[in-house]
Amino acid sequence: MKALAWKELRETLSIAVIAMLGYAALLVNLMGGRVFYWVPGLPKQPEDVPFVSGDFASVFTVVSFLLAVALGFRQSAWESSRGTYLFLLHRPLPRQAIFLTKLATGMGVLLFCAGVPIVVYGIWAMTPGCHAGPFEWSMTASAWRILLPMPLVYLGAFLSGLRPARWFGTRLLPLIASLALLIFMSMLRGWFLVLPLSLGLCGLLIVDVCFVARARDYA
């Protein structure tokens, strides 16, 4: 199991590094560094109030979304396209354990990569002399709220990569559905709804991944 987790970590490393570079560019610009000012879409100057006013949320959402989609497809569709499932799934482990390890690793990478910039930006904001304005950790809540439903997008992408349907048919349905849920949850107010809804839907998608992994043919 450990070997499988390491394999997944190594395979997703390049995607994680690219995403981290995206987050880093965002943070560098927000922290006043004029290194990535030429990158279109990135904020050109620091926010007035970190996490609350400015462009952090919009760029963070886009980068996290792309990261979740790339991770999901890398871990499922890539194996299908290379035929390596035939090698991997013959290992003496229950199929469910193989896929749950994949999902746990992928979700871990997603939450780590997306969580680090929130923490780093928060530490920067609370460090005296860095930003002219008050900062409370509770101000990061909006960023965590964006991150919370991202595993849904990851699972939707994973399921889309795993399902044996046609790309121009119903294959992308899980990803589209998770995107719709993401939009829906961004309109909800309060943690008390977003948290249980995210957890519940993630649970459902994980069950579905396990079902598809068991039921599909690896021909």
């Binding site: 450990k2 070997a3 394999k7 290379r82 035929g83 390596t84 499932y85 035939l86 090698f87 799934l89 013959h90 290992r91 003496p92 482990l93 229950p94 039921a215 043919d217 690896y218 021909a219």
Partner: protein, 321 residues
């Protein structure tokens, strides 16, 4: 006898097409079984169902005495599967592939793997993506043998390999066979290879297992009669066991399953100028058997104990006119 593989009424549909049709097969422990068939005959699908990669629509598979549907990890560890085309992670080095594979097994003989790699002159530092097809096949074989499996399922393992590599590969297979109790089920299009290593052969045609017997029995069951007339060949009346009937100039080529006195009498009734009965090697027998219009004549050895000492085999001829 204890069976390594037992298949009952195995059926698989892809869409509306039945690719494997009520397959019944028993392979005793220690047997080397060659599964033959033309492209699309259902060999790979059958092997994938055995390896658990494809779910059967109907039927039952038992591997090493356990139901394949609920195969425990411990039993799976005793089974090796080599998929067609040898899919491996191309970004890995051989050493990493060995480390990854052996980490899943309690008993993994890394020394044996190193020996095999050494035998094939493969450096553990080599990247799999940069290896040739033949070298990948060798790596796959080394990885498959790492846990010292009791049952090997090999899907066209010599596909795309040159003659030398194929011979090397087969010699390695023979070495495995010589270890007591190892069972191998493999599919191949290279009939010469099958003839060299297989105790028994099965021939699948359109998803149906038509032949299940020893290679020797299969060869001896198929006979080709080249009948020269010196004139326009007359039509052969309905004859039992007739598989194929081709007119080539003034001669008629007839292929029979189970050539005997009745067939001889039917030919002689046509007053031919000469009759030559041709014995076929496995490849020719396979070609004649699978190309004929009447491919529904089955050949089965009902007595599996022949592996232990050559008992009787019977030729079943169904649907003969």
């Amino acid at each position: 006898m204890d069976d390594a593989i037992r298949i009952e009424r195995l059926t698989k549909y892809y869409g509306r097409r039945k690719v494997v049709d009520h397959l019944d097969l028993r392979i005793p422990r220690g047997c080397v079984y060659g599964l033959l068939g033309r492209n699309g005959a259902g060999k790979s699908t059958t092997l994938k169902m055995l390896a658990g990669m494809v779910r059967p629509d109907y039927g039952r598979i038992q591997l090493l005495g356990e139901d394949a549907e609920t195969l425990s990890p411990a039993t799976r560890a005793r089974i090796a599967y080599l998929a067609e085309g040898h899919p491996l992670y191309t970004g890995w080095t051989i050493a990493r592939a060995v480390a990854f594979t052996t980490s899943f097994y309690d008993i993994a003989d890394r020394h044996l793997v190193e020996q095999i790699l050494d035998h094939f002159a493969l450096s553990p530092k080599a990247k799999i993506g940069r290896l040739s097809k033949g070298q990948r096949a060798q790596v796959s074989l080394a990885l498959a043998l790492a846990p010292d499996p009791e049952l090997l399922i090999l899907d066209d393992p010599t596909l795309g390999l040159d003659t030398n590599v194929r011979r090397d590969f087969l010699e390695s297979m023979i070495q495995i066979i010589q270890r007591r109790g190892r069972t191998i089920l493999f599919s191949s299009h290279v009939l010469g290879d099958v003839e060299r290593v297989a105790d028994r052969v099965g021939v699948m045609i359109d998803g149906v297992l038509r032949v299940d017997c020893s290679a020797e029995h299969f060869k001896s069951s198929i006979r080709k009669a080249v009948v020269e007339f010196g004139r326009e060949p007359p039509e052969l009346p309905p004859c039992p066991g007739l598989l194929g009937d081709w007119c080539v100039g003034t001669r008629r080529e007839l292929v029979f399953v189970g050539y005997g006195p009745r067939q001889r009498a039917a030919i002689e009734a046509l007053s031919p100028r000469s009759v030559e009965i041709v014995e076929l090697n496995l490849e020719d027998a396979f070609i004649e058997y699978t190309r004929g219009p009447r491919r529904s004549l089955p050949i089965f050895s009902h007595n599996l104990s022949e592996l232990q000492g050559g008992a009787d085999e019977s030729v079943g001829v169904e649907g003969a006119a």
